[in-house]
């Protein structure tokens, strides 16, 4: 009797090849931003610095993971006709939790992200995964799918943040405890452009501070990804 109970528990939380694929697929072949084109809305405006993008990525991973889990747990009790509203309420409650937690833990970043934390609700990744995956799958797999898609989104977000901050401000992780000053005109930067013989020509690229640069960076990322992964190329 006890043995079967253990066996059942194992089968609920198993982590095999299929489950690993749920986590890794969204990182490249089925990336939420560059392939599924979901969740761009709240992504672009927060990526001018790495630290807020990282916070945003963690918030989104939390919301996708747990909204998938809860929707999947409730999937047999949600009537088809009101499922959108039920899903939205689940997401909105989770986002409220995230918002209040962030406000308490790190007020400056909360201010910086402003309305974009609230906009996780309408982040199409969350809704999209609930509709496409959690409504038809078991809780544990839905949870992994949520984590995977959140990660796929977070990777792009942080990558864009790194490019924009490095070339736009010459620093990394500004505003966090581990701020790195890499290249800039004063002595506290790693490479000081006022004194350096080699880097005297260097100036920060102000375009990278503008939100429009995020569009270019993602566009170029798509270009690079599709040159390697030719099955994603748009044939129409």
């Amino acid at each position: 009797m006890a043995e079967t109970a253990v066996k059942e528990k194992e089968s609920v939380f198993q982590f095999g090849k299929k489950e690993r694929k749920l986590l890794t697929d969204p990182l490249n072949d089925n990336n939420p931003i560059t392939v599924q084109v979901l969740g761009i809305c709240s992504a672009l405006a927060v990526t001018s610095l790495v630290y807020p993008s990282l916070v945003m990525a963690i918030a989104v991973i939390f919301v996708t993971a747990f909204s998938s889990l809860f929707t999947s747990l409730l999937r047999n009790y949600i009537p088809k006709s009101v499922r959108m509203i039920v899903q939205l309420v689940i997401i909105a409650s989770l986002v409220t939790v995230v918002e209040l937690t962030l406000k308490y833990l790190n007020y400056p970043v909360y201010k910086q992200l402003s309305v974009y934390i609230g906009l996780i609700i309408t982040n199409c990744i969350v809704m999209g995964r609930l509709e496409a995956f959690s409504m038809a799958n078991k809780p544990w797999r839905s949870f992994l799918d949520g984590v995977g898609n959140g990660l796929g989104y977070g990777v792009i977000l942080v990558a864009v943040g790194v490019v924009r901050e490095l070339f736009g401000k010459g620093s990394l992780f500004a505003g966090s405890p581990i701020e790195l000053k890499i290249i800039g005109p004063t002595a506290d930067y790693l490479v000081n452009t006022t004194d350096s013989m080699l880097f005297g020509w260097y100036a920060n690229n102000n375009l990278m501070v503008l939100p429009a640069s995020a569009m270019f960076i993602i566009g170029i990322m798509i270009w690079i990804q599709r040159s390697y992964n030719t099955k994603l190329v748009d044939v129409s």
């Binding site: 909105a92 609700i121 309408t122 503008l210 270019f216 993602i218 566009g219």
Partner: protein
């Protein structure tokens, strides 16, 4: 005057798509032809124009501490706003289906999409964080919707033309749409220094 001010500002200077990148998902997904973009744009103007004053009333009279209940309920803001938007979209869908079947068949599939259009919820959240009054909220809703409408028509027209150009295969479609939007964003930025009061007081 103030109404017109906020309207112009929301439509051109603080364009929801090109300055804040809100409503990107449907903007990129539905901009393959001008005709469908037109339908979605109209639906967005409509829904933004309706939900904005309703959400303003809710946040002013229901959620704030000086409201009817006298308790600070601002933590319920997200849930209530999204519920209003979702139910409004549902309502609009039913009304349009009943009274104008031709418009319904044109808008049909886009209406549910609008619920998760960030521009709608983002508009309401901006309205709260900027402390607009009721008439400004209406102007912001209509202006923001109009700006969104213009932006999606513009990109759809460009994408229709660019289909005949020789774009590198890996950049075709989505990648090109991203880069175009970036360029349009930069073009729209030149409007940023303009004070909308200059139009309205002179004209």
């Amino acid at each position: 005057m103030e109404f017109l001010n906020t309207f112009l500002k929301a439509a051109f200077i603080e364009n929801l798509v090109l300055a804040y990148f809100l409503g990107m998902c449907s903007y990129l997904a539905v901009s393959k032809s001008v005709q469908t973009a037109f339908g979605l744009g109209l639906a967005v103007i409509f829904v933004l124009g309706i939900t904005m004053p309703i959400n303003w009333l809710i946040s002013e009279y229901l959620l704030s501490e000086s409201g009817l209940l006298g308790i600070d309920l601002t933590f319920l803001r997200f849930i209530l706003f999204i519920a209003v938007i979702a139910s409004m979209v549902q309502l609009v869908e039913m009304v349009v289906e009943k009274y104008s079947p031709s418009l319904y068949s044109a808008l049909g599939i886009f209406l549910p999409l609008i619920t998760v259009n960030c521009a709608i919820l983002g508009g309401s959240l901006f309205m709260v964080s900027r402390e607009y009054n009721l008439s400004n909220a209406v102007a912001f809703g209509l202006g923001g919707g109009f700006g969104w409408f213009l932006a999606i028509i513009a990109i759809a027209a460009i994408r229709e033309k660019i289909r005949y150009s020789n774009v590198p295969p890996a950049l075709r479609g989505l990648g090109m749409a991203f880069i175009l939007t970036g360029l349009m964003g930069i073009a729209f930025m030149s409007l940023m220094g303009i004070d909308p009061a200059a139009f309205t007081t002179n004209g």
